[in-house]
Symmetry: C2
Subunit: 264 residues, 2 copies
Amino acid sequence: MKIVWIGAGNVATHLSEAFARAGHETLQVFSRTMQSAQTLAERLGCDATDRVEDIKPNADVYVLSVKDDVIDELVEKALPHCENALFIHTAGSVPMEVFRSYVRHYGVLYPLQTFSRNKSVDFKQIPLFVEASDDESLCRLRQLASSCSDKIYELSSEKRRQLHLAAVFACNFVNGCYAMAENILQSKGLPFDVMLPLIDETANKVHTLNPIVAQTGPAARGDVEVMKQQVDLLKDFPEMQEVYQAMSRCIYRMKHDMELNDDL
Amino acid sequence: MKIVWIGAGNVATHLSEAFARAGHETLQVFSRTMQSAQTLAERLGCDATDRVEDIKPNADVYVLSVKDDVIDELVEKALPHCENALFIHTAGSVPMEVFRSYVRHYGVLYPLQTFSRNKSVDFKQIPLFVEASDDESLCRLRQLASSCSDKIYELSSEKRRQLHLAAVFACNFVNGCYAMAENILQSKGLPFDVMLPLIDETANKVHTLNPIVAQTGPAARGDVEVMKQQVDLLKDFPEMQEVYQAMSRCIYRMKHDMELNDDL
C-alpha cells in the first residue's frame, strides 16, 4: 500500500520503518517542523513537507501519528479529500470517531509498545490493536497491520482507552520508578547498573506469576517501621515522598484488600 | 563453612540453597514456626527447630534472615554464645550495629534481588553488598559471598539504606505498577499477557538509556488533557488515582525540572 505519514515522532518513525520493511511504499512524510519531516523522510527515502496544502492526495493510507492534543486540529486541516483512502491514527486515548465528520474510511492502529529514537524493537512481537469504521476498512487495516506484526487484536475505542491507561502504569510509571531509583542512587554516588539484575527479574517474574502474588517489599509486608524510615529518607524530595506514600498505600490495599493505617 | 539459618522466608530459602550448592554445610534451620523451619530444612537436608534454646552453638556462620521488625528481638534472644562465629543479617534497612552489644564478629550480606518461592534465579548475577565489624570478619564474609556470586560490593549501613530505598522503587513499586495495570485490564476483561512485550522492552531500555532519557508518556510530554481523562477513568479506585497523580507530577518534575501546574 502507498502510505503518507502525518507526524514524524517516535511512533511514526518506528511504525513507518516497520511498514517499509514489510514492503509498503512511503509516499511522503508531513510534520509541522520541516527538520523532523526531513529526518524521517531521509530514513524512508521519500518526500518531506511541512505544508498541509502539499500533502499528496494519492495515497492508500494516511497515518496520523502525532501528539493527542493536535490530532483534532490535523484531522480538520490536513486530510486530503480522498474518497477511497483509509485514514488512521495511532493514539491510545483518542476515539476513532475523531475522523467521522471528515472522511469516509477510517480507523485506529494502536501499537502497545514504548518507542525511543535509536533503539530498535522486534516489531513482529508488538501487539497491534485495531478498530475501523466499516468492514472494508477493517479488512484493509488488518492486512496492513498483519504485514508487520503477528499479534493483531480488534478493540473498541473505550477498551483501548483503558488499555492505554494500563500501559501508562506498566510502562511510563514503571520507567518513572527506575528514574527515581536512579536519583536516589546518584545522590549517594552509587551506579544505576547494580539495579539491572533486580529490574530484569522483576519484569521476568510477571511472565509466570500474577503481579499481586509476586509483590514483595515493605508495603506488601505492612512493615510500617521501614516505610516510615524510608519516607523520612525522602524528606528533601517532596514529589518522590508523595509517590512513596501513594504507592505504599495502594500496594497494601491490593495485597491485603484493606486500608493501610494512614500513619506513614 | 558450617551455617545455621535463623529465618526460613524467601530470602533465607534462596540464599541457603545457593550456599548449599556452593558446598557449604547447613547445620540447622530455626524459624518461629516449626512448619517453615521444617520445609526449608527438608530442602537442605538438615535439622529444624522452633526453639531458640536449641539453636546449635557450633556453626561458623549464623545468618539472620527475618523480617526487619523482629531482627532486634532475635539478636537479643536467639544468638548462641560463640566467640569465633560470624553473625550476619540480610536486611537492607537495618544497620550492622544491631549486633554490636551481643556478639564479637558480625556483618551484613544484602542480596539485591527479589525472591519468590518456587521461582529460581541465577545467583551468580546477583549483586551482594557486604559490610563487617572487623577485617577478619570482612574477609570471611567476602569468602562466603564470593562462593555464590560474582558481584560483591562493600557498602556502609547508611548507603545500604539508600540502596534499599532505590530497590523499593525499582522493584516493589514497579511490580505495584504491574499489579495496577492488571487491575485495570481485568476490570475490562482484557488479559494481562498483552502487556508483557511492553514490560520487557521498558526494562530492556534502561540497560542502554538513562531512565529519564527513556521516559515517555503523557506526564513526560506534559499532555494535561490525557492526564485529566485518565485521572477521571480511575474515579472508582481512589488509591490508584493518588498514585497516578503523584507519579505524573514526579515524572514531569524529573523530565522538565519544574512543577506541573497542579490541575490534574
